[in-house]
Assembly symmetry: C2
Homo-oligomer: 87 residues x 2
DNA sequence: AAATTAATTAGACATTTGTCTAAATATTTA
DNA sequence: TAAATATTTAGACAAATGTCTAATTAATTT
C-alpha cells in the first residue's frame, strides 16, 4: 500500500496514468508530452512500475508502457472500507 | 487533488483515518495509540485537516476529530476514470 | 563497424517531509 | 489565581524526493 500511495503522490505520475488510460505509449512518447528531462520521466515510470500501476514491455529499441487497472481495483477497495457504516 | 494524495502518502495518517472510521477521537486519544510524540501526531492531523479528510471540533479543552467521507467519494471518482473502457 | 536513436543508470543538489524537543496557548480544576 | 491538562506552534535536523546533466546500455540503420 505504501509504495502505491507514494507512486500516486506526484502530479506528473498521475498525468502519466491518465495518458496511458488513453493508449499505450513508449517512454519517449510520454517524455515528449512533458517539459521535463527524459531521465526524470524514466524515473517516474520506474516508480509507477514498482507500484505495479504500469507494466513495461520492450519492443525492439522501444519500451511500451501500459496501465494496470488491477492495482486500481485494489486501491479502490481500500477506500471502500470507509464507506461501510459503523454503528 | 495534490494535497489529498499528499495527505494519504503516510502510513500513520492512513492509520488515523482507519481509527476515525471506528469512532470520533480526541487528539490525545489518537496520539496515545502511537509511539510518537504529541506534536508529530498534531502535525499529521493538520495535514489530514488541510486535505479535508477529517474535521476538528473543539469541546472544552479537547479537540474531537472525525472522518469526512465526502472527500473519499471524490478520490474514488478519480480512480473510477481508469475503469472506463477506451476503444 | 560506426553512427544514430531509445531508454536507463549514476551522481549531484535543492526542496520537501517527518520527526523531535521546547515553548506557547487555551481550558479546567484545586 | 495557581497548577494541571490538552493541544498546537516554532524551530531544528536527518532522511526522502524530484529534478538535472553526464555517462551507459541496447537496438537499429547507414
Amino acid at each position: 500500500m505504501n509504495i502505491l500511495f507514494k507512486a500516486l503522490n506526484d502530479a506528473t505520475r498521475r498525468e502519466i496514468l491518465e495518458m496511458l488510460h488513453e493508449k499505450d505509449l513508449t517512454a519517449g512518447e510520454i517524455a515528449d508530452r512533458f517539459s521535463m528531462s527524459f531521465p526524470s520521466i524514466s524515473h517516474h515510470l520506474d516508480l509507477l512500475k514498482q507500484a505495479k500501476l504500469v507494466t513495461a514491455e520492450k519492443e525492439g529499441q522501444y519500451v511500451y508502457y501500459s496501465l494496470n487497472t488491477t492495482v486500481v481495483d485494489e486501491i479502490m477497495k481500500w477506500f471502500l472500507q470507509f464507506k461501510i457504516k459503523k454503528k
